[in-house]
Protein backbone atom coordinates (compact mmCIF):
# COMPACT_ATOMS: atom_id res chain seq x y z
CA UNK A 1 0.00 0.00 0.00
CA UNK A 2 -0.73 2.38 -1.38
CA UNK A 3 -1.37 1.27 -4.94
CA UNK A 4 -2.80 4.69 -5.66
CA UNK A 5 -1.04 7.97 -4.99
CA UNK A 6 -2.81 9.55 -1.95
CA UNK A 7 -2.47 13.04 -3.43
CA UNK A 8 -4.17 11.98 -6.63
CA UNK A 9 -7.02 10.25 -4.79
CA UNK A 10 -7.63 13.31 -2.62
CA UNK A 11 -7.56 15.56 -5.67
CA UNK A 12 -10.13 13.47 -7.50
CA UNK A 13 -12.40 13.12 -4.47
CA UNK A 14 -12.23 16.90 -4.04
CA UNK A 15 -13.30 17.40 -7.66
CA UNK A 16 -16.14 14.91 -7.30
CA UNK A 17 -17.44 16.68 -4.19
CA UNK A 18 -17.18 20.08 -5.80
CA UNK A 19 -18.57 19.29 -9.23
CA UNK A 20 -21.05 16.45 -8.67
CA UNK A 21 -22.07 16.21 -5.02
CA UNK A 22 -22.66 19.92 -4.41
CA UNK A 23 -24.99 20.13 -7.39
CA UNK A 24 -27.28 17.59 -5.69
CA UNK A 25 -27.46 19.37 -2.32
CA UNK A 26 -30.34 21.70 -1.60
CA UNK A 27 -29.46 22.56 2.00
CA UNK A 28 -27.28 25.67 2.23
CA UNK A 29 -25.55 24.54 5.41
CA UNK A 30 -24.66 21.07 4.11
CA UNK A 31 -23.55 22.63 0.84
CA UNK A 32 -21.15 24.87 2.80
CA UNK A 33 -19.77 21.88 4.72
CA UNK A 34 -19.18 19.89 1.53
CA UNK A 35 -17.61 22.90 -0.17
CA UNK A 36 -15.16 23.31 2.73
CA UNK A 37 -14.46 19.58 2.66
CA UNK A 38 -13.65 19.67 -1.04
CA UNK A 39 -11.40 22.70 -0.65
CA UNK A 40 -9.60 21.13 2.33
CA UNK A 41 -8.99 17.91 0.39
CA UNK A 42 -7.53 19.87 -2.50
CA UNK A 43 -5.15 21.69 -0.15
CA UNK A 44 -4.17 18.42 1.55
CA UNK A 45 -3.43 16.93 -1.85
CA UNK A 46 -1.08 19.81 -2.70
CA UNK A 47 0.54 19.52 0.72
CA UNK A 48 1.27 15.85 0.08
CA UNK A 49 2.76 16.66 -3.31
CA UNK A 50 4.99 19.55 -2.24
CA UNK A 51 5.72 19.19 1.45
CA UNK A 52 9.06 17.39 1.24
CA UNK A 53 10.47 19.88 -1.23
CA UNK A 54 9.16 22.90 0.70
CA UNK A 55 10.54 21.61 4.01
CA UNK A 56 13.89 20.89 2.43
CA UNK A 57 14.01 24.47 1.11
CA UNK A 58 13.21 25.76 4.60
CA UNK A 59 16.01 23.68 6.07
CA UNK A 60 18.55 25.12 3.62
CA UNK A 61 17.34 28.66 4.24
CA UNK A 62 17.48 28.38 8.03
CA UNK A 63 20.95 26.82 8.02
CA UNK A 64 22.14 29.65 5.79
CA UNK A 65 20.49 32.19 8.06
CA UNK A 66 22.04 30.74 11.20
CA UNK A 67 25.47 30.84 9.60
CA UNK A 68 24.91 34.51 8.76
CA UNK A 69 23.86 35.24 12.36
CA UNK A 70 27.12 33.69 13.51
CA UNK A 71 29.07 35.84 11.05
CA UNK A 72 27.51 39.19 11.97
CA UNK A 73 27.05 38.90 15.74
CA UNK A 74 29.58 38.97 18.62
CA UNK A 75 27.18 38.29 21.46
CA UNK A 76 28.15 34.95 22.95
CA UNK A 77 24.64 33.84 23.93
CA UNK A 78 23.35 34.49 20.41
CA UNK A 79 26.31 32.78 18.73
CA UNK A 80 25.90 29.76 21.02
CA UNK A 81 22.17 29.65 20.39
CA UNK A 82 22.73 29.72 16.60
CA UNK A 83 25.36 26.98 16.85
CA UNK A 84 23.03 24.83 18.95
CA UNK A 85 20.22 25.39 16.44
CA UNK A 86 22.49 24.33 13.55
CA UNK A 87 23.44 21.15 15.40
CA UNK A 88 19.82 20.26 16.04
CA UNK A 89 18.89 20.79 12.40
CA UNK A 90 21.84 18.85 11.03
CA UNK A 91 21.02 15.93 13.31
CA UNK A 92 17.27 16.04 12.70
CA UNK A 93 15.37 13.27 10.96
CA UNK A 94 14.73 13.71 7.24
CA UNK A 95 11.04 13.04 7.87
CA UNK A 96 9.29 16.29 6.91
CA UNK A 97 7.01 16.33 9.95
CA UNK A 98 9.83 15.89 12.42
CA UNK A 99 12.21 18.16 10.53
CA UNK A 100 9.68 20.98 10.40
CA UNK A 101 9.19 20.76 14.17
CA UNK A 102 12.93 21.10 14.70
CA UNK A 103 13.20 24.03 12.27
CA UNK A 104 10.40 25.95 13.97
CA UNK A 105 11.73 25.32 17.44
CA UNK A 106 15.31 26.21 16.48
CA UNK A 107 14.28 29.47 14.85
CA UNK A 108 12.13 30.42 17.83
CA UNK A 109 15.01 29.80 20.24
CA UNK A 110 17.47 31.97 18.33
CA UNK A 111 14.99 34.81 17.81
CA UNK A 112 14.14 34.75 21.51
CA UNK A 113 17.83 34.87 22.44
CA UNK A 114 18.39 37.82 20.10
CA UNK A 115 15.49 39.61 21.71
CA UNK A 116 16.79 38.95 25.20
CA UNK A 117 20.43 39.78 24.55
CA UNK A 118 20.56 42.46 21.89
CA UNK A 119 18.95 45.83 21.24
CA UNK A 120 18.56 48.34 18.41
CA UNK A 121 20.70 47.97 15.30
CA UNK A 122 22.57 44.95 16.65
CA UNK A 123 19.30 43.09 17.20
CA UNK A 124 17.97 44.07 13.78
CA UNK A 125 21.17 42.94 12.05
CA UNK A 126 21.08 39.60 13.83
CA UNK A 127 17.43 39.01 13.01
CA UNK A 128 17.67 39.88 9.33
CA UNK A 129 18.96 36.53 8.00
CA UNK A 130 16.33 34.70 10.03
CA UNK A 131 13.63 36.77 8.37
CA UNK A 132 14.80 35.26 5.09
CA UNK A 133 13.82 31.91 6.58
CA UNK A 134 10.47 33.27 7.80
CA UNK A 135 9.78 34.45 4.25
CA UNK A 136 10.83 31.15 2.69
CA UNK A 137 8.61 29.35 5.18
CA UNK A 138 5.48 31.40 4.56
CA UNK A 139 6.00 31.44 0.79
CA UNK A 140 6.35 27.66 0.89
CA UNK A 141 3.12 27.38 2.85
CA UNK A 142 1.36 29.53 0.26
CA UNK A 143 2.83 27.45 -2.56
CA UNK A 144 1.36 24.38 -0.91
CA UNK A 145 -2.00 26.16 -1.10
CA UNK A 146 -1.56 26.77 -4.81
CA UNK A 147 0.39 29.99 -5.23
CA UNK A 148 2.87 29.89 -8.10
CA UNK A 149 6.49 29.93 -7.01
CA UNK A 150 8.12 33.31 -7.70
Amino acid sequence: MPHLQPAQVLEQFASFLQEDVRAEIDDEFVDGQVGSMSSTMRYLSQELRHRDEVTSRQRASLLEGLEAVDGRCDETAVVESAADARDRIENASANSNELETVLVSACNDVLETIDAELEGDAARAAREPLYDYLRVRVEGQLEMLGRDRT
Binding site: E28, D31, Q33, T40, R127, V138, Q141
Partner: protein
Protein backbone atom coordinates in the same frame (compact mmCIF):
# COMPACT_ATOMS: atom_id res chain seq x y z
CA UNK B 1 -25.97 21.86 17.15
CA UNK B 2 -27.75 22.38 13.85
CA UNK B 3 -31.38 23.45 14.02
CA UNK B 4 -33.73 21.73 11.58
CA UNK B 5 -35.91 23.98 9.47
CA UNK B 6 -39.15 22.11 10.20
CA UNK B 7 -38.48 22.29 13.94
CA UNK B 8 -37.79 26.00 13.77
CA UNK B 9 -40.93 26.74 11.78
CA UNK B 10 -42.98 24.67 14.20
CA UNK B 11 -41.61 26.53 17.23
CA UNK B 12 -41.65 30.04 15.82
CA UNK B 13 -45.31 30.20 14.76
CA UNK B 14 -46.84 29.62 18.23
CA UNK B 15 -44.11 31.73 19.83
CA UNK B 16 -44.88 34.74 17.61
CA UNK B 17 -48.64 34.35 17.95
CA UNK B 18 -49.72 36.84 20.59
CA UNK B 19 -46.35 38.56 20.55
CA UNK B 20 -45.85 39.89 17.03
CA UNK B 21 -49.62 40.19 16.62
CA UNK B 22 -52.63 39.62 18.81
CA UNK B 23 -53.84 36.61 16.85
CA UNK B 24 -52.25 33.64 15.13
CA UNK B 25 -49.02 34.12 13.19
CA UNK B 26 -47.95 31.73 10.46
CA UNK B 27 -44.34 31.22 9.48
CA UNK B 28 -43.34 30.37 5.90
CA UNK B 29 -40.33 30.44 3.57
CA UNK B 30 -37.80 29.85 6.30
CA UNK B 31 -34.25 30.07 5.01
CA UNK B 32 -31.16 29.25 6.97
CA UNK B 33 -28.10 31.34 6.17
CA UNK B 34 -24.67 29.75 6.14
CA UNK B 35 -22.52 32.70 7.12
CA UNK B 36 -23.00 32.16 10.86
CA UNK B 37 -20.58 29.99 12.83
CA UNK B 38 -21.86 29.14 16.27
CA UNK B 39 -24.61 31.79 16.00
CA UNK B 40 -27.14 30.83 13.38
CA UNK B 41 -29.12 33.23 11.30
CA UNK B 42 -32.37 32.50 9.55
CA UNK B 43 -34.97 34.56 7.74
CA UNK B 44 -38.68 33.81 7.39
CA UNK B 45 -41.95 35.40 6.50
CA UNK B 46 -44.41 35.97 9.35
CA UNK B 47 -48.06 36.50 8.33
CA UNK B 48 -51.05 37.51 10.42
CA UNK B 49 -54.38 39.29 10.22
CA UNK B 50 -54.69 42.76 11.69
CA UNK B 51 -58.27 44.06 11.90
CA UNK B 52 -59.28 42.00 8.91
CA UNK B 53 -56.25 43.02 6.88
CA UNK B 54 -53.70 40.40 5.85
CA UNK B 55 -50.21 41.48 6.84
CA UNK B 56 -46.83 39.87 6.43
CA UNK B 57 -43.27 40.77 7.18
CA UNK B 58 -39.91 39.21 6.47
CA UNK B 59 -37.95 38.82 9.72
CA UNK B 60 -34.56 37.53 10.74
CA UNK B 61 -33.83 35.44 13.84
CA UNK B 62 -30.30 35.12 15.15
CA UNK B 63 -29.84 32.26 17.59
CA UNK B 64 -26.99 31.16 19.81
CA UNK B 65 -27.54 27.40 20.20
CA UNK B 66 -24.14 27.06 21.91
CA UNK B 67 -25.04 29.55 24.65
CA UNK B 68 -23.55 28.56 27.97
CA UNK B 69 -21.23 25.97 26.45
CA UNK B 70 -17.56 26.24 27.29
CA UNK B 71 -15.82 27.58 24.19
CA UNK B 72 -12.10 28.20 24.45
CA UNK B 73 -11.13 31.85 24.02
CA UNK B 74 -14.50 33.02 22.83
CA UNK B 75 -14.03 36.78 22.90
CA UNK B 76 -17.30 37.70 21.21
CA UNK B 77 -19.94 39.57 23.16
CA UNK B 78 -22.88 37.45 24.25
CA UNK B 79 -25.92 37.48 22.01
CA UNK B 80 -27.92 39.79 24.28
CA UNK B 81 -25.15 42.38 24.14
CA UNK B 82 -25.02 41.98 20.36
CA UNK B 83 -28.74 42.73 20.24
CA UNK B 84 -28.51 45.68 22.62
CA UNK B 85 -25.65 47.17 20.61
CA UNK B 86 -27.72 47.00 17.42
CA UNK B 87 -30.68 48.43 19.29
CA UNK B 88 -28.59 51.34 20.58
CA UNK B 89 -27.37 52.10 17.06
CA UNK B 90 -30.90 51.73 15.68
CA UNK B 91 -32.25 54.20 18.23
CA UNK B 92 -29.34 56.67 18.10
CA UNK B 93 -29.54 59.85 16.10
CA UNK B 94 -26.96 58.75 13.53
CA UNK B 95 -27.30 57.55 9.97
CA UNK B 96 -26.10 53.97 10.30
CA UNK B 97 -28.33 51.46 8.52
CA UNK B 98 -29.13 48.56 10.80
CA UNK B 99 -32.14 46.26 10.74
CA UNK B 100 -35.01 47.42 12.89
CA UNK B 101 -34.66 45.64 16.22
CA UNK B 102 -37.65 43.79 17.67
CA UNK B 103 -36.73 41.96 20.85
CA UNK B 104 -34.32 39.63 22.57
CA UNK B 105 -35.61 36.30 23.86
CA UNK B 106 -33.65 34.63 26.66
CA UNK B 107 -35.89 31.55 26.77
CA UNK B 108 -33.81 28.77 25.23
CA UNK B 109 -36.71 26.38 24.80
CA UNK B 110 -38.04 28.12 21.69
CA UNK B 111 -35.12 27.78 19.29
CA UNK B 112 -32.58 25.85 21.31
CA UNK B 113 -30.77 28.95 22.52
CA UNK B 114 -31.34 32.62 23.24
CA UNK B 115 -32.18 34.61 20.12
CA UNK B 116 -33.20 38.00 18.84
CA UNK B 117 -35.48 39.17 16.09
CA UNK B 118 -34.81 41.97 13.63
CA UNK B 119 -36.38 43.10 10.39
CA UNK B 120 -35.11 41.68 7.11
CA UNK B 121 -33.25 44.18 4.94
CA UNK B 122 -32.82 43.88 1.19
CA UNK B 123 -29.43 43.24 -0.30
CA UNK B 124 -26.59 40.77 -0.20
CA UNK B 125 -23.30 40.72 1.63
CA UNK B 126 -20.46 40.57 -0.90
CA UNK B 127 -18.01 37.72 -0.58
CA UNK B 128 -14.73 39.36 -1.49
CA UNK B 129 -13.04 35.99 -2.01
CA UNK B 130 -15.41 35.45 -4.92
CA UNK B 131 -13.90 37.09 -8.06
CA UNK B 132 -17.33 38.11 -9.37
CA UNK B 133 -18.25 39.92 -6.13
CA UNK B 134 -14.83 41.52 -6.11
CA UNK B 135 -15.30 42.79 -9.67
CA UNK B 136 -18.66 44.25 -8.72
CA UNK B 137 -16.98 46.18 -5.88
CA UNK B 138 -14.21 47.37 -8.25
CA UNK B 139 -16.97 48.62 -10.55
CA UNK B 140 -18.47 50.55 -7.63
CA UNK B 141 -15.13 52.25 -7.00
CA UNK B 142 -14.79 53.12 -10.70
CA UNK B 143 -18.36 54.43 -10.97
CA UNK B 144 -18.79 58.18 -11.42
CA UNK B 145 -19.62 59.95 -8.17
CA UNK B 146 -18.66 56.84 -6.18
CA UNK B 147 -22.00 56.55 -4.35
CA UNK B 148 -21.21 53.28 -2.58
CA UNK B 149 -17.64 54.21 -1.54
CA UNK B 150 -18.93 57.51 -0.20
CA UNK B 151 -21.64 55.83 1.83
CA UNK B 152 -19.13 53.29 3.11
CA UNK B 153 -17.07 56.14 4.60
CA UNK B 154 -20.18 57.85 5.98
CA UNK B 155 -21.32 54.68 7.71
CA UNK B 156 -17.99 54.23 9.45
CA UNK B 157 -17.73 57.90 10.37
CA UNK B 158 -21.25 57.81 11.79
CA UNK B 159 -20.64 54.69 13.89
CA UNK B 160 -17.71 56.54 15.44
CA UNK B 161 -19.98 59.43 16.44
CA UNK B 162 -21.32 57.20 19.21
CA UNK B 163 -19.48 56.70 22.49
CA UNK B 164 -19.85 54.66 25.65
CA UNK B 165 -22.79 56.75 26.88
CA UNK B 166 -24.74 55.93 23.72
CA UNK B 167 -24.16 52.19 24.01
CA UNK B 168 -24.40 51.41 27.73
CA UNK B 169 -24.31 47.63 27.21
CA UNK B 170 -20.63 47.93 26.27
CA UNK B 171 -18.11 48.60 29.01
CA UNK B 172 -16.16 51.83 28.62
CA UNK B 173 -12.56 51.59 29.82
CA UNK B 174 -9.48 53.75 29.86
CA UNK B 175 -8.08 53.79 26.28
CA UNK B 176 -4.71 52.34 27.25
CA UNK B 177 -6.38 49.57 29.22
CA UNK B 178 -8.31 48.68 26.07
CA UNK B 179 -5.03 48.33 24.13
CA UNK B 180 -3.36 46.27 26.89
CA UNK B 181 -6.32 43.96 27.41
CA UNK B 182 -7.09 43.29 23.76
CA UNK B 183 -3.49 42.41 22.98
CA UNK B 184 -3.10 40.31 26.13
CA UNK B 185 -6.21 38.30 25.23
CA UNK B 186 -5.06 37.61 21.67
CA UNK B 187 -1.51 36.77 22.75
CA UNK B 188 -2.78 34.25 25.30
CA UNK B 189 -5.17 32.84 22.75
CA UNK B 190 -2.34 32.16 20.32
CA UNK B 191 -0.04 30.77 23.01
CA UNK B 192 -2.64 28.37 24.33
CA UNK B 193 -4.28 27.27 21.09
CA UNK B 194 -1.58 27.12 18.47
CA UNK B 195 -0.76 23.72 17.03
CA UNK B 196 2.42 25.15 15.49
CA UNK B 197 4.42 27.71 17.46
CA UNK B 198 5.08 29.82 14.35
CA UNK B 199 8.27 31.90 14.80
CA UNK B 200 6.87 34.61 12.52
CA UNK B 201 3.87 34.99 14.81
CA UNK B 202 6.09 35.22 17.87
CA UNK B 203 7.95 38.03 16.12
CA UNK B 204 4.65 39.74 15.38
CA UNK B 205 3.63 39.48 19.04
CA UNK B 206 6.94 41.00 20.13
CA UNK B 207 6.37 43.88 17.67
CA UNK B 208 2.82 44.41 18.96
CA UNK B 209 4.04 44.46 22.57
CA UNK B 210 6.78 46.98 21.72
CA UNK B 211 4.66 49.34 19.65
CA UNK B 212 1.44 49.86 21.57
CA UNK B 213 -0.14 53.12 20.41
CA UNK B 214 -1.22 56.10 22.48
CA UNK B 215 -5.00 56.20 22.04
CA UNK B 216 -6.46 59.69 22.59
CA UNK B 217 -10.15 58.77 22.54
CA UNK B 218 -12.54 55.86 22.40
CA UNK B 219 -15.81 55.53 20.51
CA UNK B 220 -18.18 52.76 19.56
CA UNK B 221 -16.18 50.41 17.36
CA UNK B 222 -18.03 47.80 15.31
CA UNK B 223 -15.13 45.41 15.77
CA UNK B 224 -15.74 43.27 12.68
CA UNK B 225 -16.33 46.04 10.21
CA UNK B 226 -15.83 45.09 6.60
CA UNK B 227 -17.75 45.23 3.40
CA UNK B 228 -18.60 41.53 3.83
CA UNK B 229 -20.58 42.40 6.97
CA UNK B 230 -22.71 44.90 5.09
CA UNK B 231 -25.76 44.25 2.97
CA UNK B 232 -25.46 46.08 -0.34
CA UNK B 233 -28.53 46.96 -2.35
CA UNK B 234 -28.69 49.12 -5.48
CA UNK B 235 -25.32 50.79 -4.89
CA UNK B 236 -25.98 51.55 -1.26
CA UNK B 237 -25.40 50.00 2.16
CA UNK B 238 -28.78 48.72 3.31
CA UNK B 239 -27.57 47.27 6.63
CA UNK B 240 -24.50 46.82 8.80
CA UNK B 241 -24.61 43.38 10.41
CA UNK B 242 -22.73 41.20 12.90
CA UNK B 243 -22.22 43.47 15.90
CA UNK B 244 -20.92 40.69 18.15
CA UNK B 245 -17.36 42.06 18.35
CA UNK B 246 -18.35 45.63 19.17
CA UNK B 247 -16.49 47.52 21.86
CA UNK B 248 -15.75 50.97 23.16
CA UNK B 249 -12.30 51.26 21.70
CA UNK B 250 -9.98 53.13 19.33
CA UNK B 251 -11.95 54.12 16.19
CA UNK B 252 -8.78 53.59 14.15
CA UNK B 253 -9.28 49.86 14.68
CA UNK B 254 -12.30 49.77 12.36
CA UNK B 255 -10.43 51.71 9.67
CA UNK B 256 -7.44 49.42 9.89
CA UNK B 257 -9.44 46.22 10.07
CA UNK B 258 -11.58 46.89 7.01
CA UNK B 259 -8.36 47.75 5.15
CA UNK B 260 -6.82 44.30 5.62
CA UNK B 261 -5.86 42.65 2.35
CA UNK B 262 -7.60 39.54 3.61
CA UNK B 263 -10.96 41.30 3.60
CA UNK B 264 -10.31 42.53 0.07
CA UNK B 265 -10.22 38.89 -0.99
CA UNK B 266 -6.63 37.82 -0.51
CA UNK B 267 -6.43 34.24 0.66
CA UNK B 268 -3.49 32.68 -1.16
CA UNK B 269 -2.73 34.80 -4.21
CA UNK B 270 -2.31 38.56 -4.28
CA UNK B 271 -5.50 40.36 -5.30
CA UNK B 272 -5.89 42.30 -8.54
CA UNK B 273 -6.22 45.75 -6.95
CA UNK B 274 -4.45 45.63 -3.58
CA UNK B 275 -4.76 49.41 -3.11
CA UNK B 276 -8.54 49.06 -2.71
CA UNK B 277 -9.55 48.43 0.90
CA UNK B 278 -12.35 45.89 0.91
CA UNK B 279 -11.99 45.90 -2.90
CA UNK B 280 -14.14 49.03 -2.70
CA UNK B 281 -12.22 52.15 -1.64
CA UNK B 282 -8.73 53.38 -2.40
CA UNK B 283 -6.96 53.38 0.96
CA UNK B 284 -5.59 56.93 0.81
CA UNK B 285 -8.91 58.31 -0.47
CA UNK B 286 -10.71 56.43 2.31
CA UNK B 287 -8.50 57.82 5.08
CA UNK B 288 -8.59 61.35 3.64
CA UNK B 289 -12.38 61.28 3.38
CA UNK B 290 -12.70 59.88 6.89
CA UNK B 291 -10.56 62.76 8.19
CA UNK B 292 -12.70 65.32 6.33
CA UNK B 293 -15.96 63.88 7.61
CA UNK B 294 -14.95 63.34 11.24
CA UNK B 295 -12.33 65.99 11.93
CA UNK B 296 -10.10 63.23 13.28
CA UNK B 297 -6.51 62.70 12.20
CA UNK B 298 -5.75 59.27 10.83
CA UNK B 299 -2.38 58.56 12.43
CA UNK B 300 -0.51 56.22 10.05
CA UNK B 301 1.41 54.52 12.84
CA UNK B 302 -1.70 53.84 14.91
CA UNK B 303 -3.37 52.60 11.77
CA UNK B 304 -0.44 50.30 11.02
CA UNK B 305 -0.56 48.95 14.57
CA UNK B 306 -4.24 48.08 14.27
CA UNK B 307 -3.72 46.56 10.83
CA UNK B 308 -1.15 44.21 12.32
CA UNK B 309 -3.35 43.57 15.33
CA UNK B 310 -6.46 43.05 13.17
CA UNK B 311 -4.62 40.55 10.99
CA UNK B 312 -3.31 38.84 14.14
CA UNK B 313 -6.81 38.56 15.59
CA UNK B 314 -8.15 37.23 12.30
CA UNK B 315 -5.27 34.76 12.07
CA UNK B 316 -6.09 33.64 15.60
CA UNK B 317 -9.58 32.74 14.39
CA UNK B 318 -7.94 30.34 11.94
CA UNK B 319 -5.59 28.99 14.61
CA UNK B 320 -8.47 28.58 17.07
CA UNK B 321 -10.58 26.80 14.46
CA UNK B 322 -7.84 24.28 13.79
CA UNK B 323 -7.34 23.79 17.54
CA UNK B 324 -11.04 23.20 18.19
CA UNK B 325 -11.21 20.72 15.33
CA UNK B 326 -8.04 19.01 16.55
CA UNK B 327 -9.35 18.65 20.10
CA UNK B 328 -12.82 17.57 19.02
CA UNK B 329 -14.44 20.68 20.47
CA UNK B 330 -15.92 21.28 17.00
CA UNK B 331 -16.69 18.95 14.11
CA UNK B 332 -17.64 21.79 11.76
CA UNK B 333 -15.64 21.19 8.56
CA UNK B 334 -15.16 24.92 8.20
CA UNK B 335 -13.07 25.05 11.39
CA UNK B 336 -10.62 22.57 9.84
CA UNK B 337 -10.56 24.55 6.61
CA UNK B 338 -9.98 27.79 8.52
CA UNK B 339 -6.30 26.93 9.07
CA UNK B 340 -5.70 27.91 5.46
CA UNK B 341 -6.24 31.61 6.13
CA UNK B 342 -3.14 31.65 8.36
CA UNK B 343 -0.17 31.85 5.92
CA UNK B 344 -1.58 34.74 3.85
CA UNK B 345 -2.21 36.75 7.01
CA UNK B 346 1.28 36.03 8.33
CA UNK B 347 2.69 37.26 5.03
CA UNK B 348 0.73 40.52 5.35
CA UNK B 349 1.86 41.04 8.95
CA UNK B 350 5.50 40.42 8.04
CA UNK B 351 5.13 43.05 5.30
CA UNK B 352 3.99 45.53 7.94
CA UNK B 353 6.60 44.86 10.64
CA UNK B 354 9.73 43.61 8.88
CA UNK B 355 11.30 47.05 8.32
CA UNK B 356 11.15 47.70 12.08
CA UNK B 357 12.56 44.34 13.08
CA UNK B 358 15.47 44.00 10.64
Amino acid sequence: MTLEIDDITGELAPYLSGRLADGDVTVTDLERHTEGWSRQTMSFTASWTDGGTERSERLVARVDPSYGEERTFDYRNDIQTEFETMQAVDEADVDVPVPETYWFEADQSVLGGPFFLVSHRPGTAPVTWNPRDRQSLYDSWDREGKPLPNQFVDVIANIHELDGDDVPCLEAKDPQTVVDETLDLQRRSFEEMNLVDEPAVNEIIRWLEANKPEVPETTLVHGDLRVGNMLLHEESVSAVLDWEMSAISDPMFDLAYCSLKYFAGKLVDPIERPNLAGSLVDREWFYDEYEKRTGRTVDPERLRYWRVFGAFRMMNSGVNGAYRYHTGESDDVRTAWFQYIVPGLIEDMLDLIEADRT
